[in-house]
Symmetry: C2
Subunit: 355 residues, 2 copies
């Protein structure tokens, strides 16, 4: 029997669509997966708070009587290996959640966590992981208020996964949003790009580079405290899965502006460049776990930059680009050679379980 192209097309149509690794990788496919899961949700926000459709770092529930918003953010953490240079899944879970609250302009107050554990997992490792987790909370004055644990039979979960939900408060008039970039804003990055992604990849069993590179995992609280005036800031985002490329493309699309980066200004460590080169990856698509992108009015950009540089985690901060009203939705880069090229939304970071 000879298949004609129509038959092939039909068989493809009938072939069941399945979830791919890249559906979890923070790029375009992940957005599609989330939209698929949530498309039938009827109520998508509380009152006029930030909800599902904003797709921001967190959601808000307005408390009108007191001019405050509750800010809520939820994350799942599945990193492999669970202990990595510079941290472990415990630090990562607590840090990621606190950073998401900070990126909305909120003061983090409480966390609840759900821990999925594989049968046979040693208590000694649990101890290390939750010592790390609890230390991060303590350092930020955040309470652990509850959670849940579930145990999977051996072979049905790889070691451990942690879900965290963070709760904070922000003044309702403070709008630090993905959709709030303004033309002529400057874009600041608070430090070197791609360290976490490169460090994890270099230490995967199947790669195992010899490098001193460690993850940048860190809470961004010292930077927020040092800036000390969030009114100047239009948007903040920690470029985790999908990296700087995904974060900036989201901003450009949601704010209907373009962002033009200056390649000569991008702080990237030599080791990160080498690892990315060898693996054929773009550092701009690698995950960061202790960095913020900040979009700020040009008149305050230098002040904010200098304040950030006073912190240990922000000493390598740079103004890496600016916002324009031309070419809305696009992210571009002026290269060393003088040309300009587009930076596209990653389809999906090619490596699973990076955070």
């Amino acid at each position: 029997m000879i298949n004609n192209s129509k038959n092939i097309e039909e068989s493809l149509e009938h072939k069941e669509k399945i979830v791919l690794l890249s559906h979890g990788a923070g790029g375009q496919l992940q957005n599609e997966l989330i939209k698929f899961i949530t498309k039938n949700a009827v109520l998508r926000r509380v009152d006029d708070g930030i909800g599902l459709d904003e797709f921001d770092d967190g959601a808000t529930i307005p408390l009108k009587e007191i001019n405050k918003d509750i800010v809520i953010t939820s994350d799942g953490h599945t990193i492999s290996p669970i202990f990595f240079p510079g941290g472990d899944i415990g630090i990562l879970s607590a840090t990621g959640t606190i950073n998401d609250l900070l990126m909305m302009g909120a003061t983090p107050v409480a966390i609840s966590s759900i821990v999925f554990i594989e049968e046979g997992f040693p208590f000694s490792k649990l101890k290390l992981i939750f010592n790390s987790f609890n230390k991060v909370l303590e350092s930020c004055n955040v309470a652990l208020i509850g959670g849940d644990t579930k145990v999977f039979p051996k072979g049905t979960l790889d070691q451990i996964a942690i879900s965290t939900t963070g709760i904070g408060f922000k003044p309702s008039n403070l709008k630090i949003l993905d959709s709030n970039l303004q033309p002529s804003d400057k874009i600041i990055i608070t430090g070197t790009i791609g360290d976490h992604g490169a460090a994890i990849l270099a230490n995967r069993k199947e790669i195992n580079f010899d490098t001193n590179l460690v993850s940048d995992v860190a809470v961004l609280l010292p930077i927020i405290k040092q800036i000390n005036n969030l009114e100047w800031i239009h948007a903040m985002k920690d470029p985790t899965r999908g990296g700087v490329a995904a974060a900036l493309n989201e901003w450009a699309q949601k704010s209907n502006v373009s962002i033009i980066l200056d390649e000569s200004k991008l702080p990237i460590k030599k080791e990160v460049k080498s690892i990315a080169d060898i693996l054929g990856l773009d550092p701009l698509e690698l995950t960061n776990e202790g960095k913020a992108l900040i979009s700020v009015s040009s008149e305050y950009a230098e002040i904010v930059l200098n304040r950030i540089r006073k912190t240990e985690i922000g000493k390598n901060a740079e103004i890496i680009g600016e916002v324009s009203k031309d070419h809305p939705g696009k992210v571009m880069i002026r290269t060393f050679l003088g040309g300009t090229k587009f930076i596209n939304m990653p389809i999906g970071e090619p490596v699973p379980r990076i955070c």
Copy 2:
């Protein structure tokens, strides 16, 4: 070489302690696991809200200016099979979280969910699961405000796991707490005992009973609405993992009272009795997913009972026991034969992934 008992003891001490399936089963071992994970958390509540140490269905963050509490509850859902008689992991996740908020006396407002998916999982199943999930939210006027998705490489997670965090509000003067049972209170159960646990077990591949029994998974909102006066109620709890036995033992310990059940009053379906008998399990230790235990002042017990019975899901409600100040911390049952025996805290339900 002959081992003496001291050597055996030493080797046991040095053998690494590992997580067992029963650490996830809602009994005494689960409490130990949670205490182990959280022991180094320094901040354990927000202001004078309910936090870690209360170990209740949820936590609270007081909003003093408006005499309200935010109520927060987090759950992990790992049931196997993910589609079961009477429901699926989607209904279960949304229902369990909404019920926990209701059991604290809160009005549920919003949910965020984190979905862990195995690579290769079909979108057709995701569609069914999240249609179920979103329908439950719609029926309770609860908004889906955010979440996260992560994909595990094939073979590192069995199909799907869902974490949910629910947010609601309650008046701050309403104290419906595990620690609030009063001597002479009556204990109501809103329907038959053990249906969910028995239905899931009967349908496990390795057991596969022929039965029409279905899970009782249901939101308890109609019952709460019908009661219409939560001031009468001292404590409410949905007896999920560890069943009625675990829930009542927690109550007795936290409230420093005893609870005496009347075996002749326990509503248990014949099918559940048979399945439990054959598997050597106690229906009182089986999971329920659509039932509430309610501790209420004796003067209001009949009124509350009659209101509950007016609802479809509460038509089999019964007053099953009472609270006493004698033998604090103990749960007892007056048997059909006239004797009295203790009902102990389950060590850990003997079957994993029941919810």
